[in-house]
Amino acid sequence: MAQSTVRDEPRDQTAASRPWQVAAEQLSNTASGLDWLTERRTAALVRADCLGLPDQSQEEWRYTSLTPFARRWLDHLAGARLPAVPEPVPPTLAGVFSVDIVDGRLCAPLLATPPGLTIQSLQNLGAEWRTRVEALLGSVVSPTDTSASDSLVDLNTALLTDVVLVTTEPGASVAMPIHIRLQATAASALCQTRLLVDLAAGSRLTLSLEFTGTAAVLVNAVSQMCLGRDSELNLVRVQALPDDGMLLESTSIEAKDSAAVTVTSVDLGGQLSRQSLTVRLAGTGASATVHGLFLADGQRHIDNRTRLQHEAPSTTSREFFRGIAADRGHGVFSGKIIVQPGAAGSNAALTNRNLLLTTTAEIDTKPELEIYVDDVRCSHGATTGQLDANALFYLQSRGLDLSTARQVLTAAFLRDSLTGIPLPELRERLEARLESRLQAQSGAAR
């Protein structure tokens, strides 16, 4: 069985290595007034303090160092922030229901939410949801994913400023996509976002999350989603932070019997971005499809860790992850498929394709299979390389110059991952952004 990383060396005890203590002290001056939350915070802080921030000696963090993150956090806490340059806030998309969460806080007032949907925050949390929220705040993202139980979730619990809860009614099919913009500003040293999504049995929801922020922001986001029996979630997640922003993100999705989740994840911004996505296929016949895409150009470090966990019989997962690294960018992908004992009849496949465009860039990829039952069909494939020489030649023979040919093929490589995004305007906007970045890329390469 998966072994949790137990560290027995004493942690560095100097305040300099424990920014969370400083943060917690600052936070304690602005008490929430919710006693139960204070208890949760304290417990989480103790755990986080024991573990410290993840470091590269841990297998899960092999390719990503949080040293620059911790350093900047301390700087921010000391008030040494860069003057905030407001980023242009993307225009609201048409045909969606927009929600803003700024520095972790749900922005009021909300327009009337679409029928079948409820959005609550700590301030207006219905009494019937109290216990559920309390339980989720007390647990790590995934109780069975011990490798993910690093301190980030506890840090979020200890330091969060709000909790946003999105729920659906049983059987409700929410027609309008919900677009949540998660904005981080200079107002918080480290923006803590906590999002809980609970889909009742038989309900359907399309949800897109877009991370944006002002200069040099730090974000630690935690999302927990639970899909009831026969429900369907179409989730889009876009990381579009400014070039010097940093995001740490832990997402856990649990799918009950016959529930289906589709995730499309896109990383195109940030200086450092680390997403940890765990999907638990916990009910018979549950299924998951994950599409991922990252563009690690400039100085970007983008790390995606996914874990598809088959816990029940006849569960299915399909994952397609693509990445491009250019300039001095560093792309990391580790995708694990786990089939637990008892998950007979599971079927899982993962495909990872990467393009490496320059000598100074790097791509590290680690597709993994962990299988504990024989009645399975699992496969993964991964490639890292360059554009297909034959395809390039074909386009050149049709009169395209090399740089255009490259651009065309690279754009096609990216577009494949975006086709599943059910918000046409968002998809077009992403395509345009990616293509203009690639144009700059192929201009520079030639």
Binding site: A361, L369, Y372, V376
Partner: protein
């Protein structure tokens, strides 16, 4: 079988899968258990080693003391008590014999029983054998014939005595003593092993082979093998290993270093059949081995082929450092685990030179309650223009309680490189089984047939006479795996 079969009978029945579990009753010089600088000085003195080697051993030992056992592999075992192991055991009379006639007949019988006759008249044709028994080499066959073409094939101890300059030049240059925990331990306490030197332009006229046998209780085997292939030379080397059936675990921590210079080829094959422990997981060898080849020269080639069927625990990653331009690294592996065996095995291909190529084919078979993991690293450094890697990794599961795992790492830092990895995990197809049975083949034979087909790509890489042995070994290892 009758209901009241005596225990002994039952025990034989349980152990029938392992044919090499007997013990040779022979007098031995065995040093008391425990590890210290004194023990290391004792081993070094026993072998009459030059000062530089003792100094190296001691440096390794002092470094080892600062290390901790690696924990990253998917292996679980009770802590190993390094002070409970005897680090030197040699059959009497002491080695250094001039002629095979002086070797204790019991030893000759042992090897005969293992299918490796050492005596002149019965020797395997075309295969030269170095026979290592516990801590020492018993004899090496065909030495004269090999010497005639300039090939040196002898025990490591003899190489230290006769060719110290070569040992000094290459020892620890591929696997430094600082490399890892078990390599450091081995560097401190290694007792024997094989040494091969193929001079410039020589194609070794016969297969070279070392047969490792652990016999004494409470000992470990720590051998060291060094193969150097000079410019334009070629050698094929095979190792086999067995041990008696005992209830306690025994440690085997070997180091193998290969050096291939310009245009040289080394083919290294292993059929590993250490005692795997019984059906309840009692006993068996802990096999922690560091094997690495250095393709130092341009156009050099190192090819690893392994059939890992034995051992309670296997921890080994035969690797290639592809330094020379156009050099080629290959890794072909079959790992079979049954009952409570655990294997964490794979390879590392480090691409440094231009146009370097590597191929990895791994076939894992897991049955019973066994856990079988492939772990591999393909690393392309910025200097490795046009590097290519292809990895194929397939796992077969037999039974609802076993596990098969795949952990490949791909680190690419050159945009002209292409790295491809494919892996599958499944059980034997019901449709395949039915197809065979419809043709009249019994379920058990069908399973053997399908499993052997699954491993064909790897077996094809073995020298002919060992391919058959490997195939039989596979069938025996999986005995009882299908209900």
């Amino acid at each position: 079988m009758t209901g009241n079969a005596p225990n002994q009978g039952l025990e034989d029945f349980m152990g029938r899968g392992y044919a090499h579990g007997f013990v040779t009753d022979i007098e031995a010089d065995t040093v008391a258990p425990g590890l210290s600088e004194d023990v290391i000085r004792f081993i070094s003195a026993k072998k009459g080693e030059p000062e530089f080697l003792l100094a190296w051993r001691l440096k390794a030992y002092r470094h080892w003391l600062t290390l901790r056992e690696p924990r990253w592999a998917k292996l679980h075992h009770p802590p190993i008590d390094y002070q409970a192991i005897s680090y030197y055991s040699a059959p009497r009379p002491a080695p250094g014999l001039k002629s095979i006639d002086e070797v204790d007949p019991k030893l000759l019988q042992t090897y005969e029983k293992l299918g490796i006759p050492l005596h002149e008249r019965a020797r395997l044709a075309g295969v030269a054998v170095d026979a290592v028994f516990d801590s020492v080499s018993v004899t090496t066959t065909f030495k004269d014939k090999l010497a005639a073409v300039g090939v040196i094939f002898c025990s490591f101890s003899e190489a230290v005595r006769e060719h110290p300059e070569l040992v000094r030049k290459y020892l620890g240059t591929v696997v430094p003593y600082r490399d890892n925990y078990f390599a450091a331990l081995n560097s401190a306490v290694f007792t024997d092993g094989s040494f091969v030197y193929i001079p410039k332009g020589v194609r070794c006229p016969m297969e070279l082979s070392t047969y490792f046998r652990i016999n004494q209780a409470k000992t470990g085997q720590f051998e060291r093998t060094l193969i150097v292939a000079e410019d334009g030379s070629h050698v094929s080397y095979l190792e086999g290993c067995t041990a008696p059936q005992r209830d306690e675990n025994q440690l085997h921590a070997a180091v193998v270093e290969l050096v291939a210079l310009n245009d040289a080829t080394i083919k290294y094959s292993t059929v590993q059949n250490w005692y795997p422990g019984d059906k309840e997981g009692r006993g068996g060898i802990y096999n922690f081995v560091t094997k690495r080849g250095d393709c130092r020269g341009a156009n050099s080639r190192i090819s690893w082929t392994q059939v890992e069927a034995g051992s309670a625990i296997t921890w080994k990653y035969p690797s290639c450092i592809l330094r020379g331009e156009n050099s080629v690294g290959e890794f072909y592996s079959v790992a079979v685990t049954n009952n409570l065996q655990q294997a964490d095995t794979g390879t590392k291909m480090i691409h440094i030179g231009r146009n370097t190529r590597s191929t990895i084919v791994s076939k894992g078979i897991s049955a019973g309650r066994a856990q079988n993991a492939y772990r591999g690293l393909v690393k392309i450094l910025p200097t490795a223009e046009n590097a290519r890697n292809y990895t194929q990794c397939d796992s077969l599961l037999m039974g609802a309680r076993c596990g098969a795992h795949t952990f490949p790492y791909m680190e690419v830092r050159n945009p002209t490189a292409v790295v491809e990895h494919e892996a599958t995990t499944s059980r034997i197809g019901d449709d395949q089984l039915f197809y065979c049975r419809q043709r009249g083949i019994s379920t058990e034979d069908a399973v053997n047939l399908i499993v052997n087909g699954f491993c064909k790509q790897v077996f094809r890489q073995l020298p002919m006479e060992f391919a058959v042995e490997a195939q039989n070994l596979l069938n025996v290892s999986l005995e009882g795996a299908v209900g």
